[in-house]
């Protein structure tokens, strides 16, 4: 039942992608409520899935890589709903949907939904650490999306090839400011997650700690270079995408609470 909810959620994101592609092909790209509503419905279905899983597990549903990926996809959708509407970045949905779709398809297709052998008593510090870290990943994912939008817009301005999407993408300074705010938001959450990790009264492997600190240092370096203005906005946008790709690949190495199973 819960996986079915997730499949329906994935289909909603797929609908948002199709709507975007159809608009782009017709060269009549415009703000579409269909994209926002599809993502909103997908988000509700994801929430229902996570809620059912959470009740069944008796803890936050991030006990294996499958759940971590779904929780990450949910975090991205959540932050999009907050940021996308706040900053009127309607097109962000068009860029966010493919990312969420990809994460969920990966989660559904790969055999990574391994059930735990037994129910364990919840550890609040550990759950806080894991969930806040994944929400931080969501913010980093959105920064990556804003970075992609920045690069698309910048590329069009540089090459003088203005597609219909050019007129719908926000100006470069707006995209850049969204990108840096998301980076800060993610970095603060991630720092909180990292610090809370030290309060978990269970031993954590040093490799996991080292990888988590490496991601923290990577994003810290990007923000530092932005603060001292020694890196151009275009490079910051590129770094946002590279950093998220690195962080995502390291996620495979970091088992959150799965080791407790």
């Amino acid at each position: 039942m819960d996986r079915q909810l997730l499949i329906y959620a994935t289909l909603c994101y797929f609908a948002a992608i199709i709507r975007t592609i159809v608009s782009l092909r017709a060269r009549v790209f415009r703000r579409s409520r269909v994209v926002f509503l599809s993502i909103a419905l997908g988000f509700l279905l994801q929430t229902a899935f996570l809620s059912i899983r959470g009740h069944a597990l008796g803890s936050c549903p991030i006990t294996n890589l499958f759940e971590v990926l779904v929780f990450l996809a949910w975090s991205i959708a959540l932050i999009y709903m907050l940021i996308g509407t706040t900053y009127r970045l309607s097109l962000m949905g068009a860029f966010t949907a493919p990312l969420v779709f990809l994460l969920q398809v990966t989660a559904l297709v790969l055999p990574i939904d391994t059930p735990r052998a037994s129910r364990v008593s919840p550890n609040p510090w550990l759950e806080f650490h894991a969930s806040i870290s994944i929400i931080a990943y969501g913010a980093f994912a959105l920064a990556c999306v804003a970075g992609a939008m920045y690069l698309v817009q910048e590329r069009q301005l540089k090459t003088h090839q203005l597609r219909s999407i050019f007129y719908h993408l926000p100006p470069l300074p707006n995209l850049f400011s969204t990108m840096t705010r998301l980076l800060w938001f993610g970095f603060i959450l991630y720092s909180a997650g990292l610090i809370s990790g030290f309060f978990v009264s269970e031993p954590l492997p040093w490799t996991k700690i080292a990888l988590a600190i490496a991601i923290w240092v990577l994003y810290g370096a990007i923000l530092q270079s932005r603060y001292f203005r020694c890196v151009t906005p275009r490079r910051i946008a590129t770094l946002c995408m590279v950093a998220f790709a690195v962080a995502l690949s390291l996620l495979w190495s970091i088992e959150f609470v799965g080791h407790r199973a």
């Binding site: 060269r27 009549v28 007129y167 993408l169 470069l172 300074p173």
Partner: protein, 363 residues
């Protein structure tokens, strides 16, 4: 009741003819005397049109005479420049006009504002009754739909508007941005005016002939700067518009790179309208620099215009639907009770049903 449109435009008459038929203070009163119950006069630089409702036919000669500024009669050649459309075709014409499909630059949106002002004038003078209310309200709705459902009004179609659009995407808000005009050609002046209309307030002009720089600076409420210091100005400015008669490149990457170091991550938008070009094309490869020459700007304008033309069929389809619907309304209105009392000129066209429409305007 017969709804009709009578007029001439940039396609049917040259400016010499149009300027003789622009209408005058008594045009509407004359049309009333001729038997029009409702009258709307739409005059722009490209068209003069009467939209009217009358229950009897009015000769075109008389209509043309009412528009003529000297009140004289018109020759056959003059009359040949006029067009006349009735009922559904009149509605189609106004829908096309309001949507910008009949404009010189397809899809321009200024005409909608002009049509709205003409309608407001007619309403406030008591010349617009239920027929014109219905017609105009529908026309404005059609224009809005055409604008939102097609791309017929999308994209800049002049060099100046392309520059403004690009600057908007590079800088976001243009208020407080600094512009330097190097040389003082006609295109750069137009571009500068377009940017000034969008809030650019710090305008600097530099020219080999200081008097010319002073002249343009005074016109634009900017400041003239010595030609010898233009490169130094590039440390501060956001937009450079260049149009000198120099035979070699004035700005090259080796000259610009040290300046860019001082600009932190502020982008620099360069509009080079000179032929031969003032700025080496390699400058565009530098980070944070966006260089557009006259060909690139004109190409973008042409692409936008082409895209607008491609959207014409979709826009016409929307108009067809509304014309068909409006025609049904005209048939219903025609069979309704004949009017007897004064026209309630404040009635919205969307509200006016057949019964109200049949109410006669005093004339």
């Amino acid at each position: 009741m017969n709804l009709f449109c009578f007029g001439l435009n940039h396609r049917t008459a040259p400016i010499e003819a149009r300027e003789r038929f622009v209408g005058h203070a008594r045009t509407e009163a004359l049309l009333r005397d001729l038997g029009c119950h409702e009258v709307l006069l739409l005059t722009t630089c490209n068209r003069v049109e009467i939209y009217a409702a009358a229950d009897r036919g009015i000769l075109s000669e008389h209509l043309a005479q009412s528009l003529r500024i000297d009140g004289g009669s018109s020759s056959k050649k003059d009359l040949d420049a006029f067009y006349r459309m009735e009922n559904a075709e009149c509605a189609r014409h106004l829908f096309r006009v309001a949507s910008g499909l009949d404009s010189m630059v397809v899809g321009e949106t200024e005409i909608l504002g002009q049509a709205k002002r003409a309608y407001e004038n007619a309403r406030s003078n008591g010349n617009a009754g239920p027929w014109l209310n219905r017609l105009c309200q529908r026309a404005f709705r059609v224009a809005k739909q055409v604008r939102s459902k097609t791309q017929v009004t999308r994209g800049p179609v002049s060099v100046g508007s392309v520059a403004v659009d690009l600057a908007g995407k590079i800088f976001g808000d243009l208020r407080g941005r600094k512009v330097l005009v190097l040389g003082a050609g006609e295109t750069s002046e137009k571009t500068l005016r377009a940017l000034a209309s969008r809030g650019v307030s710090d305008l600097r002009v530099s020219n080999r002939t200081p008097a010319r720089a002073e002249e343009l600076a005074n016109q634009m409420e900017g400041i003239a700067v010595p030609f010898a210091t233009w490169l130094e100005q590039c440390r501060e400015i956001d937009i450079l518009i260049s149009s000198t008669a120099a035979e070699t490149h004035l700005l090259t990457p080796p000259l610009l790179v040290p300046i860019l170091r001082d600009r932190a991550d502020r982008p620099l938008f360069i509009i080079d309208t000179a032929v031969p070009r003032d700025v080496a094309p390699e400058v565009n490869e530098l980070d944070g620099v966006y260089l557009y020459d006259i060909d690139s700007l004109q190409e973008i304008a042409s692409e936008s215009l082409e895209l607008r033309r491609q959207q014409l069929a979709a826009a016409e389809a929307i108009i067809d639907e509304h014309v068909a619907d409006f025609q049904k309304y005209l048939v219903r209105a025609d069979t309704a009770t004949r009017p007897t009392s004064d026209c309630p000129t404040g009635v919205s066209g969307d509200v006016a049903d057949v019964g109200i429409v049949a109410t006669r305007c005093g004339g």
